[in-house]
Subunit: 114 residues, 2 copies
DNA sequence: TCTTCATATGAGCATTTGTTCATATATTAA
DNA sequence: TTAATATATGAACAAATGCTCATATGAAGA
């Protein structure tokens, strides 16, 4: 890595920090989770099933969106293993899968509310 | 709100959950912070100044991006009050402003590393 | 079997996003 | 004042995103 191309750069500080930067793959994984929560519609879906499971239609009602839009978003959340589902006849119930996401959400809720 | 348009909807459960959903403005604020961390390049910038302040050129070196790209991203992070800066002559040093973001990042780091 | 209901998915489209490139601003030194 | 350095910003553009609409799938009941 080219480190000394500018006068303002403190080589030691830069090398020190470079050592602490996670691998790109880890950064991408972190970013993926944040991206899942970064869209207000998708975040609202996650908030809707934070305390209890709901079927797709219920989530759509709670979020004021179409079933289709919710289903598309749930697919993204499923792929990222943020939500899980269980079938009961025709109805599919969704709930949160990732404990870490739950605490992240609760922390963020605390933040905006205080 | 139209709640009973479908058979599968449990009205009580929906009303219960609706009470717990934050105001739209709060949801948007939460989403904004997550969005700030949702792009790998921007997340890397935040990670670069997690432990110590750096100037724009140093951040660019650490992140392997141009000064301009970094500057554009820092503007977004500044607007969201995630980073702060101080001037020292020609050089501007950036560091993290929001304590809550710091713990969110550390939590996320823990998550991907274990 | 045929219909209905709940959910999923593909294509298409408008909007947003992140980068590049050129240029502007601000500070320091000559 | 002029030149050099560090940072900021505007325009432009390619890529990604979230929604709609049409259609498909899968389960239950008539």
């Amino acid at each position: 890595m080219e480190i000394c191309s500018k006068n303002c750069i403190n080589k030691e500080k830069v090398e020190e920090t470079v050592k602490t930067i996670p691998a790109q793959e880890e950064i991408n994984q972190m970013a993926d989770i944040f991206k899942a929560l970064s869209d207000p519609s998708r975040l609202k879906i996650v908030l809707a099933i934070l305390n209890q499971e709901h079927c797709v239609c219920e989530i759509a009602t709670i979020c004021g969106q179409t079933d289709s839009a919710i289903s598309h978003q749930l697919r993204i959340l499923r792929t990222l293993k943020i939500v899980k589902n269980r079938r009961e006849g025709k109805v599919i119930y969704y709930s949160l899968e990732d404990e870490h996401v739950i605490s992240t959400i609760n922390m963020s809720l605390d933040h905006v509310r205080h």
